[in-house]
Assembly symmetry: C2
Homo-oligomer: 130 residues x 2
């Protein structure tokens, strides 16, 4: 079954935190997302069950290859959509908030169309916005 918004947000968070720190723990994920420890614990269990995340020998949360690929794809949506809204004059806060919700609901087709359109206009899509 297709992954839900919730699972995607956990993946994306682990991915983002992994870029800032070598050891990402459940508690860090919870603090970042504003969720309780049990919620994170269960969500991570599901990601592990589905082969998207694992715990390494030092107890750090790591994404599997598949998990990382998914996370990157979601994160790319996030950055491109944020950029799109900002290019249209929306303030950064609103733009990133909207991107954060829409990234889970837009199809590959529509997303790629938006991305292609923005490339055409020379937008710098590589720069992260968060």
């Amino acid at each position: 079954m297709a992954m839900q918004e919730s699972g995607e947000m956990y993946l994306e968070t682990i991915y983002v935190l992994s870029q800032k720190s070598t050891k990402v723990r459940a508690i860090d994920v919870g603090e970042y997302m504003g969720y309780s420890k049990p919620s994170v614990s269960r969500a991570l269990g599901l990601l592990k069950r589905d082969g998207l995340a694992r715990t390494d020998e030092f107890g750090a949360i790591k994404l599997t290859e598949e998990g990382e690929a998914k996370a990157k794809s979601i994160y790319e949506r996030h950055t491109v959509l944020s950029k799109l809204f900002m290019n249209l004059g929306v303030d950064e806060k609103t733009a990133t908030e909207d991107a954060c919700r829409i990234e889970h609901y837009i199809s590959d087709k529509s997303f790629n169309a938006i991305k292609a359109h923005m490339m055409q206009y020379g937008a710098d899509l590589d720069e992260a916005t968060e």
Copy 2:
């Protein structure tokens, strides 16, 4: 509390069906959305509780002024977003499916920015796509 995707979809459906027929019944809403009668019954109860819909003297479902305003606003998002995706080369089916999900998650600010952008490029936003 802010209205959820589910409630918005019911509102939008009642609005759309009301344009085609004078008497919209719960069963019609259910058939259109692919939901069971009890699901529709409960959802309509919530819309009524919140002052967004009512049943008229002939048993037809009607939107209140507030309900209709909301429905129109959601439906406008639907048409504008569909147009946006189609303008970018996305096929109609995908474009309307995406619009149908995203319409519930985009902020007023970002939506208005998109709309303004499209007006600038002379897109015909008045024509319905469904």
